[in-house]
Subunit: 307 residues, 4 copies
């Protein structure tokens, strides 16, 4: 059995990058398994992106990997490279945030269990208790903070009434509590699997790692609330779902994956929701798969997906 | 050989409509070939829509059809029905409006020629001369009015210079000229097959029949100009096209048909345009097919498509 | 709240059928909610198929339904009609047969739980014990009969050794046992959700109700064993799955639903299996949905699906 | 403007291939634009496939290209490489074979004209005269050899009657004539665009270049004659088309591309043919695009498509 490594990097486009990288890999006894590259054809500012999967013989993997890192670091100055080098045998840890709807969580749990997703679901957080039993069935810690949680039960001694708190303060207390709780699980990223609360910019900045959300419309159509109602009112013939990275602007982060399903005039809003669920869970699971396999590189407000 | 009729109608939903209609058809010796219905489940204002294709023996078709019409007219008062009854053996006449791009026109000409579209393309109008040769090849009259046309060549005697004309006046002169020209061909509807000029509300009202447009985005995403550039900038993973009826508000009429195609980070704007063309022509041809086969019923700003 | 009934019927095509049926429904105060029909255009032997969903006011539903049935029975002689009339508020009962793979069972359990499938999963039968815990989680009885089961544990007193039994006899004993067990649950149909044992003609005839199977290829391509290996060897660019009714001939019953997914040269057999699973569970769930909503009419070795 | 080259190669998988190739390209001042690779994970006989698009500055392109070729030839011995190096600015020449159906030919002509296909259609050959006018419209030479052609009009002096000829002899005379005629056009490959005659093994061997065929079914389902009739009889819910390289065994060459379209019980054989045409022309055009852009590598009886 060999050791599998995944290298992703980007740099200003310049001749010799591939030659330099592949020389380092060859001289350190690496075997390239997969390789994908992309260059933006921008005239002013061409940029180069690459993903390489390679393997090292177990026997001298440590020594070779150490050398590879040293030599890559030398490239940083020459080519202005940014790179990430991940061990392909280590699963990423996710916290999954849910509310009441179960379909996205089920899909993630099932695909994780079956090995289709190479992932640890380290904990599930929810503002409702509805999905605790499925979490228990899969032996995943379930963190429940109801929307009326004010932290009072923790610091009850010095407080009079929750009504003194403003909403934003309550939100702040809750988010601090969430950060604290998921902080116990060594989380690499968060998956919002139909979590119906908007995270604050503070939360996003404090967490400071990737957050993947599923939005139940074909963005940029129908952002914001009740996209299926919007789609029904508009009379579109196809609906979709969008998985994207979360940034501070609602429903506007880099799109990772989208898919669609055909509808017709017989479908009322309830039927759109039913049909949409299949798309939502498929699209979210695919986006998570891209992420845990280090297939995504962001640039600008967009993504490159190496498949 | 029998005579084929297509009946479409709508009315407030009420028990007995289907029974009444099918009784009339049966008693006048009609054989029902296809039948589709839809009821909006609105509690306050339920509405009923139906399409029936039936055939009459040639021998006594005239007499039976006359009776059917008389008896349908009696239903107007009872059920508040609006109906249309078209002869399925008579092709509709279209004027196709184009600019420089050929793919949608080619598709319509080819599908009309092969019999896939049951349609007469009576004339082609363009603000450019680029597509006249394909029109000639198919023996379809080609009307060409360049964008600098002011009508001066018609009424040259009483004019000094085109520069006196305002843009809107020129547009008005041109649109009157177009209406006049296509008026010679007994047109049932207009197909905007990548016609890159916006028709005025006056034109739309004067023409007063259906106009089908193809918009090169998956509406309501990216309305207006340069949708492929917008899609590229946004980084969507799927692009689409939308065929819709034209109303006075740009890119906002009832959607008839949509379809999509998957793209990825390798696709620049030019590649999006290429991939989009396949979707545009397919979607437009399907929408035209629905229209000429009387499969579309409008309601609100939406469409029912009976397939 | 009204009572919803689903009528499906077929008969030789003849004028007046729709009029006769809709007259009966109207005169017994039924409101038609959905209606679909199909006529085979065969010259020699035209046949007519119809599905009507109607509702009756609760108040006098019993009386009206009784009348409707009486009057329909009169049509049997006139039009040679075969019909089924089911109560739309009563769920069908299924026995789900599985082996080791969980994805189809999970999908059925999840869609049943969420209400997307209007179905009771009355019991789960398996020749392996692997999926008993998910059955328990959903509180569905799990019947486990291992492949070395000979019935000895039931009738141990008068037997020497299982080695006396021929394979076909063992199969027969096992199938009798299965029939007996699922017979306790008032089953309407069986779903083979990746059940990797071939049912005998005897079993199929004894059960004498519908059995729906999911086959993991796009039939008629790659029937029989190991379809993903066959697909890989052939180098197809798209794989699929097929849900069909089971008859005595392997993988040859009437096709209910199919769907496909694109693959490429990177996909080895394992990857085909992974990608195929998503299609398998979707296709099976759709076929079951069509069945429980009485949308399927068989004719010859084919199906009509009224959607 | 730079010169664009397309390199495709394959060899037994071994460490250092990518490093060696990219070193040669870098040292000869080439800029890699696109790069794709595939390794079969076969344990016994791992094989490596690669496609690289690179550009050379016009100024010293000749000198650098010459060096690159010399150095690549040295790799042949080291890595047992087979390679092809094509100039990305030179169009391939095709002979298109047709019978009566026009849709595939139209698609090829239209996409060639619009630049979507980087291709010269050098000549069109047919056993019918139906499509000569569209060939004329596009100014493509049209070679017509009717099925009763015996060569008598060429060698009339020494012959009595065509009835002396056996069918296979006639076929042989015709095929020799075709080879002779298309031989005048410096053809790189043949496209069978709904050519309804089976080419003999002799023809295929004599031509000795690639032949791309479109088969109107989702192979391996429904090989041979009348696939739409077969599909109708079987009651499949999805039909498809397959573009493949032609080998001596009917409908069995390596599959290049496939696509499908959903059908239902309303579709009779004629409707299947109509719906199928859209898929046939799309699939054939895509396969031709892959071929002219050097994206296809054959291995065994399968293809790798680098996209």
């Amino acid at each position: 059995m060999n050791r599998k490594l995944i290298l992703t990097f980007s740099c200003p486009d310049k001749k010799g990058i591939v030659a330099a990288i592949s020389k380092i890999l060859f001289e350190n006894n690496a075997n390239i398994l997969e390789s994908n590259q992309h260059s933006t054809k921008s005239v002013l500012n061409p940029h180069f992106y690459m993903r390489i999967v390679f393997e090292l013989d177990r026997a001298d993997a440590e020594k070779n990997l150490k050398n590879i890192k040293i030599e890559f670091n030398e490239l940083i100055n020459i080519f202005n490279i940014k790179y990430e080098l991940n061990d392909g045998s280590i699963k990423k840890n996710a916290a999954v945030f849910v509310s009441k709807e179960d379909h996205c969580l089920y899909e993630l749990l099932w695909q994780t269990g079956s090995g289709d997703l190479f992932l640890n679901i380290s904990c599930i957080f929810s503002n409702h208790n509805d999905l605790s039993s499925i979490a228990n069935f899969y032996n995943v810690p379930f963190i429940y903070i109801p929307s009326n949680f004010t932290g009072l039960n923790i610091n009850a001694n010095n407080l009079k009434s929750a009504t003194f708190y403003s909403n934003s303060l309550i939100k702040n207390v809750q988010e601090q509590f969430i950060l604290n709780e998921i902080g116990k699980y060594n989380i690499d990223f968060i998956i919002l699997a139909k979590y119906m609360v908007i995270l604050s910019a503070d939360f996003i900045n404090s967490f400071n790692k990737k957050i993947i959300n599923i939005h139940h419309s074909f963005l940029p159509s129908f952002p914001g609330a009740k996209p299926y109602v919007q789609a029904y009112e508009k009379g579109v013939k196809i609906i979709g779902a969008t998985a994207h990275f979360v940034n501070e602007k609602l429903d506007d982060g880099p799109i990772i994956e989208q898919d669609v399903i055909r509808i017709n005039h017989e479908d009322d809003v309830d039927e759109l929701k039913k049909k949409g669920k299949t798309i939502e869970r498929t699209v979210l699971a695919r986006a998570v798969k891209f992420f845990v396999e280090d297939r995504i590189i962001e640039y600008g407000n967009k993504t490159i997906i190496f498949m």
